[in-house]
């Protein structure tokens, strides 16, 4: 693998008004890792993902993606970097005015060098990947169920074949069967493409099935980061509470 880590957070602090969400937070994600980001509700996981995407500027500290700083550098370079990542937002963030098909096709069309037939095949491929029927392509986002919104959002995140995938609670709202399929899908994509994945999840089976590494966000910073089995044995109230009795089962 080439040298620079895919994501590098360097003493990041985030303050909203008077509440401090992150204080002096460090994280290094190397290429090919699937990192599960754990943390209590409201601990700042979504905020951290937004900072990785460059949607939010940390109050202090640096965020580097693929070795370059998202908050500096020229526009063309930033766009090139953004094309290399896909994001699944916690609430889908589908374009409500576009149909499912157009939502998934949107990033592809923005490249302006693929023809319609190519785009159509790719969109149907993505739909099949997330187990949606081709007929679902004509629906509008408001006509989807919660789990379908998640799957369409995932399909859109995957449409540019990103090297880095950021997932905010990808399996929340999916039935166990579907979330298992999701685990298989991301797993096989990771093998075929060498993806790097950072996912926020509260679902133990997703975490067990997919993650190679686990990062735990508590007390405003990453209290533990490392391979799954190592983190599970960390002695911290959140970690013991989270894995609880299942700790052994997961190992």
């Amino acid at each position: 693998m080439s040298g620079a880590p895919v994501i590098e957070l360097d003493s990041v602090s985030t303050v909203f008004g008077k509440t401090c969400v992150h204080r002096d937070l460090n994280l290094r994600v190397e290429a090919g890792q699937i990192v599960g980001l754990l943390g209590g509700s409201g601990s700042g996981k979504t905020t951290l993902l937004r900072e990785m995407l460059g949607l939010l500027r940390p109050t202090s500290g640096q965020v580097r993606l693929f070795g370059s700083d998202l908050n500096s550098g020229d526009v063309a370079e930033q766009r090139a970097i953004r094309r290399r990542l896909g994001m699944l937002f916690q609430h889908g963030a589908l374009f409500s005015a576009l149909s499912v098909f157009d939502n998934i096709a949107f990033p592809l069309r923005e490249l302006r060098c693929l023809d319609e037939d190519w785009i159509r095949r790719l969109v149907h491929l993505k739909l099949a990947m997330v187990e949606l029927e081709p007929a679902h392509g004509d629906l509008m986002p408001a006509e989807l169920s919660g789990g379908m919104v998640k799957r369409v959002a995932l399909a859109r995140a995957l449409s540019l074949e990103p090297e880095l995938l950021l997932l905010d609670e990808p399996t929340a709202g999916l039935d166990p069967d579907r979330s298992q399929n999701f685990v298989d899908l991301v797993g096989s994509l990771q093998q075929a493409l060498g993806l790097t994945v950072v996912m926020v999840t509260h679902d133990l089976s997703t975490l067990a099935g997919l993650a190679t590494h686990v990062a735990v966000l508590a007390d405003q910073h990453i209290i533990a980061f490392g391979p799954k089995h190592e983190v599970m044995t960390v002695d911290h109230p959140f970690v013991t509470g989270f894995f609880g009795a299942d700790r052994r089962k997961l190992l």
Binding site: R83, K126, A128
Partner: protein, 368 residues
């Protein structure tokens, strides 16, 4: 790991190497496509074993190059074959979405039907409003006081500065233009009649209606519309709060109350502007103007003006709420309905104004 995608021909075989991914292909996409198109002719043997990566975009490209069938000889790692076979499983002919043809008759038909549906919706909303009002008359404690006052404040009090500014300028303009004409006839003192009648009876209410339709009407549609998009309206009714009493009624009643007051204010400021201009242009003193105003303009004109304000306020709010409730949960529909609300509100105001003009044509016109 990240070598660019390459294509060579070695002893009759087409050999692909490097990373065939969308990101890697993009810089040299046209070159790659022409290369592939050239190969397509005779080649039946493909060696993909030296690929480092292949993603579905590249897989689709290859599959199309192969004309939708597996080539006779194919060397490929099992992991990569999986990617290709996913593409192979897709149906060959994927129908494009049907494009709607434009037809004039159909277009006008739809337009008419939509207008009728809107009319029906507004009548229904009006009926609902009357039901709600009669309910509130029996249960006065359920009156949404806070929302009502908030609406009067937003649509009325907060509109005062902008309506004053516009009214003042219009007053000056009309007075100045009329003064030029009147001077020619030596009929200077008729400026009082002209300004008084036109502003109090006609311009004040219509001016305010246009401003308020743009200001408060669009805000009402957008607010109700966003509440629909974010399902807040549904949340309200699950809590047992009637959306028409809590959301629609305060808006309509609030604007209906506030409008006549804003009209009064705007007409006054416009007259002031007219007076100032008359003073500068015709040396007509302010005192003279004010003393002669009641004589030149019968008071029924004021009532007509205020009555117009009342009705215009009601119409604007009704139209705005109707279109707000029609918003479908997507941003496109939100913007379309907001536009429609403003356009329809202004058009209906002008229409109602014309009706007013017809029915009040004998009232308040001073005999010369």
């Amino acid at each position: 790991m990240n070598e660019p995608p390459r294509l060579q021909i070695e002893s009759g075989k087409i050999v692909l190497s490097g990373a065939w991914t969308l990101a890697a292909m993009l810089p040299e996409l046209t070159a790659l496509r022409t290369q592939l198109a050239e190969c397509r002719a005779g080649a039946t043997a493909w060696d993909l074993s030296r690929l480092s990566r292949i993603d579905s975009a590249a897989a689709v490209l290859l599959w199309r190059t192969w004309g939708g069938t597996w080539p006779a000889h194919l060397d490929v790692a099992p992991l990569h074959r999986e990617v290709l076979s996913r593409v192979a499983e897709l149906p060959d002919e994927i129908p494009a979405a049907a494009v709607q043809r434009f037809q004039l008759v159909e277009y006008f038909g739809r337009l008419t039907l939509r207008a009728l549906a809107n009319l029906q919706g507004m009548v229904a909303l009006f009926g609902q409003l009357i039901l709600d009002l009669s309910y509130l008359a029996r249960h006065p404690s359920d009156l949404p006081r806070k929302e009502l006052f908030a609406n009067i404040y937003k649509a009325g009090a907060q509109a005062l500065p902008v309506t004053a500014l516009v009214g003042f300028l219009i007053g000056i303009t009309i007075s100045y233009l009329s003064a030029l004409q009147l001077k020619g006839f030596g009929a200077d003192i008729f400026i009082v009649n002209i300004l008084g009648i036109s502003i109090i009876r006609e311009l004040g209410p219509v001016l305010v209606a246009v401003l308020v339709a743009g200001r408060s009407g669009s805000a009402m549609t957008a607010q109700i519309g966003v509440m629909r998009v974010t399902e807040e309206i549904d949340a309200l009714s699950t809590i047992g709060v009637s959306r028409s009493i809590r959301v629609v009624l305060p808006k309509i009643v609030g604007l209906t109350i506030a409008m006549p007051l804003v009209v009064l204010w705007t007409s006054a400021v416009a007259l002031l502007g007219g007076m100032v201009a008359a003073m500068l242009q015709l040396d007509l003193s302010l005192i003279y103007f004010i003393e002669n105003l009641p004589r030149a303009v019968p008071v029924s004109n004021l009532y007509i003006g205020l009555g117009k304000g009342f009705v215009f306020g009601f119409v604007i709010a009704l139209v705005a709420c109707h279109f707000g409730l029609k918003v479908k949960p997507n941003t496109e529909s939100l913007s379309a309905n907001t536009t429609r609300a403003v356009v329809t509100a202004i058009t209906s105001v002008i229409l109602v104004d014309a009706i007013f003009a017809i029915f009040t044509r004998h009232i308040g016109v001073p005999g010369l």
